[in-house]
Amino acid sequence: MAMPVPRAEGDHDAIEIHNLTKAYASQDGSIQALSDLSFAIADTEFVTIVGHSGCGKSTLLRIIAGLLAPSSGAVKVRGRTVSAPLPDVGMVFQRPVLLKWRTILDNVMLPIEMLRLPRTKGAERALDLLRLAGLTDFRHHYPAQLSGGMQQRAAICRALVHDPSLLLMDEPFGALDLMTREEMNFELLRIWSDRRKTTLLVTHSISEAVLLADRVIVMTPRPGRVADVIDVKLARPRTPETKLDPRFVECVRAIGRSIGLLYI
């Protein structure tokens, strides 16, 4: 499917972030949300960001998606500086925010309609994704008929249907109960291994961050800075057993230390 943002010439990281700073004006002066943030994400890499609530993680995602302008610094997606909202991005939010008057299939088709992409091919992709997410039988249901986890799976399908090169996820499983959350982690990994998008996922669960990622970026509390970057050298596909791997535990510890939690 033709994407509105073509790949620029030359070798680029999928996302480059250079000295990003974001300050908000407030009643008592300005609030520094992000301070001098720099990192890069390679093509098809899965990176997670962990940090305390209010460390500017969501702000960062909104800046990368072009929804928010940085105070200084720059974000480049595939070598191009982001200056407007990017259709090359698939976004998943903490809540599924599906349109309650549309069936699941029609919800997944929303990006195809809005970007005016060819319908037949779009519908094919939508059905493929729904099959991958195990929602085929529910494609003609309304969101209210589905559980929270199923709704969020539909939201992931919606984020991927226009074949964006980037998948941005803002605490996508934060509103789910723990057991559903575990299931969704593996569900996401399965979909990701099939579609291989460059993925940036924000979470405040350390174990979720390690389980999903190739690399974990640890952010400091406000103003958000990169405190640490931890490479997760765990084999894929990851399974529930992965959590028992000593290297998994080591990563969790390292993150805990740099966040300021004490682990023995």
């Binding site: 998606a65 929804l67 976004m91 925010v97 008057w101 929303l110 309304y142």
Partner: protein
């Protein structure tokens, strides 16, 4: 939301019991018909002169439906303009509120001067009485969008038109329909006020005549017809709501389960 058979039989029994008690009381205490006619007398009046009541009901129904439909169209239009244009909002919102505050009964004589004794003045009154809740609710509905959905629209370069047709408008439908239900009952009031103030047709006019001639049973039949008309319009709106929002059934089921 479901209505069970017990619910229905309970309401029927209570209505029958009320009517029976009313009948008995008027007979036992020899209450004169011009003060409180017995249900049987009212029934006789309705049956013997049903062409009159049918015709006058039709007139009033026409006035309220026309006023109601105009209110819906104008109300929705105003709401869209208010939401999308800051300047228009600051220009017309205060006037709309001011218009709502003025008692419509007080405007009725003026409308008669401007629009004459015919149907137009009644339609205008029904419109005036019922459009305000539509504007207010529709504005709320158009603005009550989750922040994330608006972000999604921007990422997908939806443009204002698609954002309006695919997100804001359907999102406002539940708000619109609840205001249309309120407006449908208000439009009866508007039409009757108009007929009270001046005119020679409609159930309101009939009530004025019945009162001046102390034919109270006639008043009661007219009152009954009025409530039937109100129910009818309300029912039509509720029906339209079910047709246009098939998902709402599941929505309320999900809320009940949560």
């Amino acid at each position: 939301m479901g209505v069970s058979k017990t619910d229905i039989s309970a309401s029927i029994i209570s209505i029958v019991a009320t009517l029976a008690a009313w009948e008995v009381l008027t007979r036992v205490f020899h209450i004169p018909g011009f003060i409180l006619p017995a249900p049987s007398a009212i029934f006789v009046e309705a049956v013997t002169r049903y062409p009159l009541y049918l015709y006058q009901s039709w007139v009033t129904f026409y006035e309220m439906v026309a006023g109601f439909l105009l209110a819906a169209v104008i109300g929705v239009f105003l709401a869209v303009v208010i939401v999308y244009s800051r300047i228009v909002r600051s220009m017309i919102y205060p006037q709309i509120v001011a218009l709502q505050i003025v008692p419509k009964v007080a405007i009725a004589p003026l409308l008669l001067i401007w629009a004459g004794y015919g149907l137009t003045s009644k339609v205008l009154l029904a419109l005036l009485v019922s459009f305000f809740p539509i504007v207010v609710n529709m504005v709320t509905g158009l603005l009550a969008i989750e922040e994330e959905l608006l972000d999604l629209c921007r990422i997908l370069h939806s443009g204002r038109w698609q954002e309006f047709t695919k997100v804001r408008l359907p999102n406002a439908l539940p708000y619109l329909f609840s205001s249309l239900k309120v407006a449908s009952t208000l439009s009866v009031i508007g039409a009757v006020i108009g007929e009270f103030v001046g005119g020679n047709e409609g159930l309101g006019h009939l009530i004025i005549i019945a009162n001046s001639e102390l034919r109270t049973s006639m008043s009661f039949v007219a009152l009954f017809c009025l409530s039937v008309l109100g129910f009818l319009l309300y029912g039509l709106v509720a029906l339209a709501e079910r047709v246009f929002m098939p998902w709402e059934r599941w929505q309320s089921a999900a809320h009940a389960a949560a």
